[in-house]
């Protein structure tokens, strides 16, 4: 693993979907096993370029996600390496049983790409807004769940995925991401990355809110609060070692994700903490709600996914850590509110 961090976290010029399509074409040039499938969303992802270059190796299945996953599994049984795409909602919810049995239980070799994660579904609204996709996939034994943070990571993970075997769910932003890594970075699937050092608390973040977490930490640093930021781009298998290390070294954890806090990163980290290092923890993410329509920046505010929301949770968790140290029990109201969910 080689990590080169970008000096400035600014929006990239290239869209993630373009990086995905270009990379896949590059790999397909060298590797005849690679094939692509879609369920009538080729134009949305930009895979028409792949189809033009490899007309025999692009299978647009039409609007039939269940069949697409089964076809991908069958192709892989003959040695092909299929990448099957739909929006994250449909790539998971509509074909969970096919992914579970035809691909994973059958121990075949399939990559499922779910685009427009969480609030990035924006103007397509609640019907198309996956707050649960990664959580659904996390239920499948032996699967790998990835959420590339920016174009540098996407390129590297895609390259790695061409050489690996198994079922992968790749949660893909189509739009430009905020730059976090410099070219030359090499990532290790299953290993979290420390983006900022800190001692008072750790933010463990994935996807679109990684940059928000960095902004929150920098703002808190200016106020004298030292916050560590980790990028947990592999939801499964989760880096247990990193979670425990952060808990032991900083004594407080905040998770941040563009996903339901149930079954997503918040749950995954909580499971590790509860079993290994129970420290105060807060979760930033979708608080078990359905999506709704609007621009991404509005939705980030609506669902409390901004740097300010993250900073607030960090201060809260630090408060709890200090209260615990003085023997004060957690507020009863918190427990009560949690029970309502």
């Amino acid at each position: 693993m080689t990590i080169l961090l970008a000096k400035d976290n600014v929006e990239e010029k290239i869209a993630m979907r373009d990086v995905y399509c270009q990379s896949l074409i590059e790999h397909a040039e060298k590797d005849g096993r690679i094939v692509a499938l879609d369920a009538d969303l080729m134009n949305s992802l930009g895979m028409t370029s792949f189809q033009k270059r490899f007309p025999e190796r692009m299978f647009n299945c039409g609007v039939q996600e269940a069949n697409m996953i089964g076809v991908a599994a069958g192709l892989s049984a003959t040695g092909k390496v299929p990448y099957a795409h739909s929006f994250g909602t449909f790539a998971t919810r509509r074909c969970f049983d096919q992914i579970f049995l035809s691909a994973a239980y059958a121990k075949l070799n399939v990559r499922i790409v779910g685009s427009d994660p969480g609030v990035a579904a924006a103007y397509n609204g609640g019907t198309h807004m996956p707050f649960e996709d990664a959580g659904i996939m996390r239920n499948i034994p032996e699967i790998t769940v990835l959420e590339p943070t920016d174009s540098v990571m996407l390129r590297d993970l895609l390259q790695q995925s061409t050489q690996l075997y198994g079922v992968f769910y790749i949660r893909l932003l189509r739009k430009p991401a905020v730059k976090v890594y410099e070219e030359g970075s090499k990532f290790e699937i299953g290993k979290a990355i420390q983006l900022l050092e800190g001692t008072d608390a750790t933010i463990i973040a994935t996807g679109l809110v990684v940059s928000e977490s960095l902004e929150a930490a920098k703002k808190l640093a200016s106020e004298g609060v030292s916050v560590r930021v980790m990028n947990m781009f592999t939801l499964k298998p989760i880096d247990r070692e990193a979670v425990v290390k952060c808990a032991c070294e900083t004594g407080a954890i905040v998770t941040a994700e563009n996903h339901n806090i149930l079954n997503g990163l918040g749950s995954a980290v909580a499971e590790v903490l509860a079993e290994n290092a129970p420290v105060p923890m807060e979760r930033v993410g979708i608080n078990d709600l359905f999506g709704e329509v609007g621009p991404t920046d509005y939705l980030q505010q609506r669902f409390e996914l901004t740097a300010a929301d993250i900073a607030k949770k960090v201060m809260k968790v630090i408060g709890r850590k200090q209260s615990n140290a003085t023997g004060i029990l957690p507020e009863k109201t918190n427990v009560h509110q949690a029970g309502k969910r």
């Binding site: 089964g70 076809v71 599994a73 069958g74 003959t78 040695g79 049995l101 035809s102």
Partner: protein, 281 residues
């Protein structure tokens, strides 16, 4: 043209498969008897006369594939594979026992010679299409044979695949529907009427045929016709009897999964061992 002696040989093979399948079930006293027994004449033809397979190389790249989408017919497929030499016939007695390689439903990772994991109905249609596409991409001359249940055709995924395979002109895919007229809860016509399945597949632009699924000669002829197609996948609707060759299953309305006594099983086995005169079919 197939000779009469070859037909008799395949009938004998079918009887042997029925016998070994019943012995598998006898060891447990329960199982998916109906849908296993109804598909055995097809399995005898495919593995006895049609498919290019090699028991010494079960994952040989150029082999023909069989996707048993109605995965609950696993016991019949296992008996067929054992008789073809993929593993010892005695292994069949471990069906559904702890740690077995022979589970109720087909598992490609457990059983030598099983090409696909199936059991959640409808899914074999799509995996078979994937296999056929992959082999065509690699210019292999192999065929993919797909076995669906009639009740299975309730599943929407079957019809997604039906559209897609025809659109892709998958002539190396030859499907069969084990039309035994019953599903778990009773007669298909009473639960969710399938109507004329051959006509439906024909309208979906498959080369569709409907035959007597217990007549090995008709099965061979239908497969030969299917192989002449260059632009269409084929579907052969097999009119079968659920539980065929097992009197207590044939006579029961609810025979998808059933319990029976050792005496009942012994009676069926004795009849099958006695040969065509002794068998009740």
């Amino acid at each position: 043209m197939i000779t009469q002696s070859r037909i008799e040989e395949l009938k004998r093979f079918a009887r042997q498969i029925r016998l070994e399948t019943m012995k598998e079930f006898r060891a447990l006293g329960f199982g998916h008897v109906g849908g296993s027994m109804s598909i055995i004449d097809l399995l005898a033809v495919l593995y006895g006369a049609v498919m290019h397979i090699d028991p010494d190389r079960p994952v040989w790249e150029d082999r023909d594939w069989l996707i048993m989408s109605k995965g609950h017919a696993g016991p019949a497929l296992y008996a067929t594979l054992a008789l073809k030499g993929f593993f010892p016939v005695s292994d069949l007695q471990t069906l559904n026992q702890p740690g077995t390689n022979f589970p109720s439903h087909c598992d490609r990772n457990k059983t030598r010679g099983v090409d696909m994991t199936t059991g959640s109905l409808g899914q074999g249609m799509s995996t078979a299409i994937g296999v056929a596409l992959g082999n065509r991409l690699d210019r292999r001359k192999s065929y993919t044979y797909l076995v669906l249940g009639d009740g299975e055709c309730n599943e929407g995924q079957v019809w997604e695949g039906a559209l897609f395979a025809a659109h892709r002109k998958l002539s190396n895919l030859i499907g069969f529907i084990d039309c035994n007229k019953k599903q778990l809860d009773g007669y298909t016509k009473d639960i969710c009427d399938l109507g004329n399945l051959a006509a439906k597949f024909s309208v979906f632009n498959w080369f569709a045929q409907e035959i007597d699924g217990s007549d090995v000669g008709q099965i061979i002829t239908a497969i030969e016709k299917a192989k002449l197609q260059q632009e269409q996948p084929s579907m052969i609707v097999l009119n079968t009897v659920k539980g065929a060759g097992c009197s207590f299953a044939e006579n029961a309305l609810m025979n998808h999964h059933m319990f029976f006594t050792r005496e009942q099983a012994d009676e069926v086995i004795a009849a099958l061992e006695a040969g065509p005169e002794g068998a009740n079919k």
